[in-house]
Structures are given as C-alpha cells and as structure tokens.
Amino acid sequence: MVFQHILLQQRQFDQNEEAKTQLQAINNCGAMVSFSGYVRADTGVKELFVEHYPGMTESSLARIVEKAKDMWPVLGVTLIHRVGALFVGEPIVLVITSCSHRQDAYNANRFIMDSLKTDAVFWKKETMLVNGCLESCWVESTNSDIRARREWENIS
C-alpha cells in the first residue's frame, strides 16, 4: 500500500513533520527525497499570489502523482502546494518521495516537480517594486519549464 498525501493549503507546512509522518506510514524505506520550493525575490518580487481552481487543481495534482507511481516503485509520496498570498522567502511547495532505492526516489521527486511546473492548474501573480511603485502581473509559462517536462516524455 503506497502512502499518499496530497494537499492544497494556504498555511505554511512543516517539512520535518511531513517527512516523519510519511516515514512512519511506510515499510522498508531505503531512500527518502524531500524538496521544498520557496518564493524567490527575482526582479524585485515582493509577493506571489497563487490562484487555483478548486476541484480541477486537486485532480491535476492527483494525475501527476499517479504518473510518478506508474513510472517508479514509490512507497510514499507527499505533495503539498500552498495557495493564496505568499511572501518572498516563504515555502510554496513540498514534495517528499520514498522508495527502496535513492535513484527512484530522486527521479520520482524531480518528475513531480517538473510536472507541477507545466501540468498543475495554478496561476501565479507577482507583485513587484518598480521605480518605487508596486506593480502586479500574471506569470507566463517559461520555455525551460516546458523543456524540463518534455525530457520525461522521452522515457515514459
């Protein structure tokens, strides 16, 4: 039985607590990889607003996790993504994957993160300081994210 915990939430998450919960729920874990993403202060960014579409976003996250479980022998997966207003330096996403062997845990984790960038139903709006004034604009998908996701299509 694979441990699976997928959550959208506004509040911050506790990485250590989530890793502990997953470790206690699975048997014979040989490797656990934990990735946390944070809001960067790129080009004067002060705040990031993450919008989701209730129902559809959860389905998109579940599909990504299912694909990872199909591709690697995953024992446990935790995916927590924050929504709403986030400030620079705050954690935004947590992905923890456990497998018997480290290569599978690394690969499953990176696949989930790469897929989140292109397949997860989110929209991000950055508020930045420009010439002393706060300006907001919606973020567009980057080519590097799309390239990273396509790398996996060649092996799946």
């Binding site: 993403g37 993450v50 919008e51 579409y53 129902g55 559809m56 389905s59 993504h81 935004i92 996403v93 989140l116 960038k117 292109t118 397949d119 997860a120 139903v121 989110f122 929209w123 991000k124 709006k125 919606w138 973020v139 567009e140 998908s141 994210d145």
Partner: protein, 93 residues
C-alpha cells in the same frame, strides 16, 4: 423584467479564472439557457452576446475551456448543472 425559469431551460455556471477573472470583472455567475442542452460552439456564440465584458477572453487563442473540471478540445454538449470555465494558460506550481 426577469424571465421565470422554465422546465425546458438549463442553468449553467460560467467561471473565469486568473487574469481572465480580472479582465471580465467577476469570477463566477449562473446563467440560464432557454433549452435543455446546448452545443459548446452555440454556447460560445450566446456568451459573446450576453457577456460583452468577456469579449477579449472569448477572442483569445490561448484560452482553455474546461467543462466540469475537464479541459475540452472538441465540440461537446453542455447540459443543465454543468460548469464551464475559461482558463488562461496555466503557469504551474
């Protein structure tokens, strides 16, 4: 004068997400169509008429349309209770 809802009418939820919500000025609204079901292409024609604030969204070539949380890529029938959402290109997590 407001028209009463008839048995042959169907109510749909129309949603705009992300930047589209800001363009249109609202995120969710229930509309009534005077027939029990409607083809998606016909619904788009209807929405262009009744929601002039959505003109820019309807004209966008990048838009995604989701019906009941599933992205639609071809003609389909929209029925009573369905939720039709207009999504800008997703930017991921």
């Amino acid at each position: 004068m407001q028209k009463n809802t008839q048995e042959s009418d169907c109510q749909l939820t129309i949603r705009f997400l992300g930047s589209y919500r800001e363009i249109v000025g609202w995120g969710e609204r229930t509309i009534t169509i005077s027939k029990p079901a409607i083809r998606l292409s016909q619904l788009l024609v209807h929405l262009r008429q009744v929601l002039p604030e959505g003109a820019k969204v309807f004209a966008s070539r990048d838009k995604l349309i989701a019906v009941n949380h599933e992205v639609i890529t071809r003609e389909c029938t929209i029925e009573a209770g369905d939720e039709v959402a207009f999504l800008p290109p997703i930017t991921g997590g």
